[in-house]
């Protein structure tokens, strides 16, 4: 069994991967840079989920 924390991480990475592939197929320049990929990944799997978590927390507390 996959632990729920791991499953959540896997789902976030899977969504990020699908979006990356879609952008890459549409705009191939996007796929030529590792730096772009790193920035994209940091935003997609760290900053965006963190922002959503904070918004949810704010909504619950208000």
């Amino acid at each position: 069994m996959i632990r729920s924390g791991r499953l959540q991480t896997l789902v976030i990475y899977a969504i990020a991967a699908v979006v990356y592939v879609a952008i890459g197929v549409a705009f191939t320049d996007f796929m030529f840079s590792l730096v772009v990929a790193i920035v994209y990944l940091l935003v997609a799997v760290w900053l965006v989920p963190e922002g959503i978590r904070r918004l949810v927390r704010l909504a619950r507390n208000s």
Partner: protein, 240 residues
């Protein structure tokens, strides 16, 4: 040349070497031979000027040219500079291993590499066509239609089989501990989640662009697969 293999091989080495290697220099070494040269092989348009090597193959893999970056000696020299200049044997050795992996992997194409430079003989297995001279899009289409693409797939599957090296537990117990000076320093600026994301980035990049280029080449543009030795033969493969 290879595409995703250089992103993925360091994770396979990491699985077997554990605390004996530092991941970041291993990855930098794996990228090093092409790091400052690939743009000139494909050419770029900058401020109204087209910059491109007059003979991309000679420039990329030959001598005269920067082909020595794909030799074992280059890894040894830069590794020694890192070791003696920056005082880190671990970083020096890790860089060397990554660079050697790149140089050996690129012997798979039809141009091959001058592995034993200053001896300028090209070691080439010739399994897939080198097509860098045709420009980056045709090169991508050719690479992802031949055995090079299958070689990348081997590393993707091995990486997925070795999925534990991508977990938070592995990062905390092995990656961070093996190179605590670097990761500890970076930890001051980004949290643990940021560190782990950075650690996984090259694997993500390698897998995603393999899928994306495959879709681009075969679903969008219908380039034919040619998995014969030295293929695809619909492109003019370069030779040394």
């Amino acid at each position: 040349m290879s595409w995703a293999a250089h992103d993925l091989e360091p994770y396979a080495f990491q699985k077997h070497l554990g605390l004996k290697m530092a991941f970041v220099p291993l990855l930098i070494g794996s990228y090093a031979p092409d790091l400052a040269t690939k743009w000139f092989v494909y050419g770029i348009h900058l401020f109204g000027f087209d910059l491109k090597a007059s003979d991309p193959v000679q420039f990329h893999r030959g001598w005269p040219g920067v082909g020595f970056t794909h030799s074992l000696l280059f890894g040894v020299v830069i590794g020694l500079i890192i070791w003696k200049g920056f005082g880190s044997k671990l970083w020096g050795l890790s860089f060397m291993l990554g660079q050697w992996a790149h140089a050996i992997t690129d012997t798979g194409d039809t141009v091959g590499t001058m592995l034993l430079f200053p001896w300028t003989h090209h070691f080439s297995v010739g399994a897939w066509a080198y097509a860098g001279q045709t420009g980056r899009l045709t090169d991508a289409a050719a690479y992802f239609s031949g055995l090079g693409s299958m070689w990348d797939l081997v590393w993707i599957l091995y990486g997925l089989y070795s999925w534990r090296v991508l977990t938070t537990e592995y990062f905390n117990k092995i990656i961070f501990v093996a190179d605590h000076r670097f990761w500890g320093w970076l930890h001051k600026y980004i949290g643990r989640t940021g560190l782990i994301t950075l650690y996984r980035a090259a694997f993500f990049y390698g897998c995603c662009r393999w899928v994306a280029w495959t879709i681009w080449a075969h679903v969008i543009h219908h380039y034919p697969y040619d998995l014969t030795w030295g293929g695809p033969h619909w492109v003019d493969a370069a030779h040394p």
